[in-house]
Amino acid sequence: MKTTPPILALFLLAVLPLFSSCTSTHKKADVTVNTVIKSSRKNVSAKVAPTTSKTDDLDEYAVTKVSDPLEGLNRATFKLNDGMYTYIFRPISKGYEFILPKALRRGVDNAFENVKYPVRVVNCVLQGKMKRAGLETEKFAVNTVAGVGGLFRVSDKIASIADLPAEDTGLTFAKWGIGHGAYVVIPFLGPSSLRDGVGLIGDYALNPVNWGVFWKGKHDWTKIPPSANTLRVLPSQLAAYDAAAKDSVDPYLSVRSAYVQNRAAAEKK
């Protein structure tokens, strides 16, 4: 059944920056809004909504509990990031959007997401999700061959591989039982945790666009793919960031809550 959307834009835009690395794929929704995420080894947990009854109980949406011992520093970094986004990256993003038409930008996004296949498949394997690793391989093959090197996301037309959940190294650590640790705001990159921050190193190493950096000798061309990758995500990231900051009561808390909830949901997929 297909139709166009309703009430979604507001919140959709508000949370986009928080799951940019997993925007292209997600698990086929199985109607579980209710996520109560608690792990004995996690310092960050989120309880989103009840599962058992329809009530108007004011207590049913428990406040997200987050280990944030560095809140002062995190807020300062958040503010710094806000300035960077606004005064440095926005002009760059506008220029990119001006130069490249929307259709081409979408193709570029598709291609870069497609090439991140090693990030997804390696983490599937490390988590023991062999069937999903196979589906990721199928998706990569379909998009690479039929989608002209990934420019077109042909996999959207195939139900079995259209909505595979995102995988990354942080989620692998979670699967292994490693808790978030403290919440941290990383300069430029934004919200993360100690666990997911370390995971970003794994994601970086597994992403082929960065492989040139590890080559011996200095070759200027190796900087092009990662730079292009950064450039192509800027428009959506900045638009979403603006929306999140504008719509919230406390932008810092809003982003932190969304990050924790999103990661908790991703761990369950």
């Binding site: 009430i7 925007t23 086929k28 109607v31 989103v48 004011l58």
Partner: protein, 193 residues
């Protein structure tokens, strides 16, 4: 268990299943209606203020803003005076509607693929969708509850609940300075350009 009881039970189970299916279908239909109304209004709007004016009555019809406000504020709500509750609901409603109107991009037509809806509790349906928006696919679930008709009470995108998100902010404001701080925070948010 007597034979009569057993037969009653066997009869009741399929009836309950059918009832749940009907309920989910009703809620999903209501959501479709809301979607169609919003899009129709948006297509006819000439300017952003006009869009805001056109969307407000539609959203007020389909979204349970009162319940959303109470839940977004949380237990602190009980310490609000009736006047403060009324003011908070008014401000929160304005915040949500204004935000939505501002983000609505004319000419952008996201595609919503409806998944099977679930009925986690009587009078409540979670309508899961896959929404294709600007080339990306998102898991978006609309939580709907029946109270004088079906109304949207929460939107969950990629696991992020809108109400839980606001709760984290408004609860902090309440702990900081009670109802007055919540109201001033909401007022500040709605008055931001």
């Amino acid at each position: 268990m007597t034979v009569r009881q057993l037969l009653s039970l066997l009869f009741l189970v399929p009836c309950l299943c059918l009832s749940a299916a009907d309920t989910a279908a009703d809620a999903q239909q209501r959501l479709h209606g809301a979607v169609d109304e919003v899009l129709k209004a948006a297509e006819g709007a000439k300017s952003r203020p006009a869009l805001h004016d056109k969307l407000r009555p539609i959203l007020e019809k389909h979204i349970a803003f009162g319940a959303m406000t109470r839940r977004a504020i949380g237990p602190g709500w009980r310490q609000f005076t009736p006047e403060q509750q009324s003011k908070a609901t008014q401000l929160f409603t304005t915040l949500i509607i204004r935000s939505y109107s501002n983000k609505f991009t004319l000419g952008e037509h996201p595609e919503v693929l409806y998944q099977k809806a679930a009925t986690p509790a009587p009078g409540r349906v979670d309508v899961a969708t896959t929404t294709v928006y600007q080339g990306s696919r998102y898991a978006v679930t609309y939580r709907m509850e029946q109270e004088e008709g079906w109304h949207i009470t929460d939107v969950v995108i990629e696991g992020v609940s809108m109400i839980a998100n606001y709760r984290s902010q408004l609860d902090a404001a309440f702990k900081k300075g009670g109802a007055a701080t919540v109201l001033s925070s909401l007022s500040d948010s709605t008055s931001r350009p």
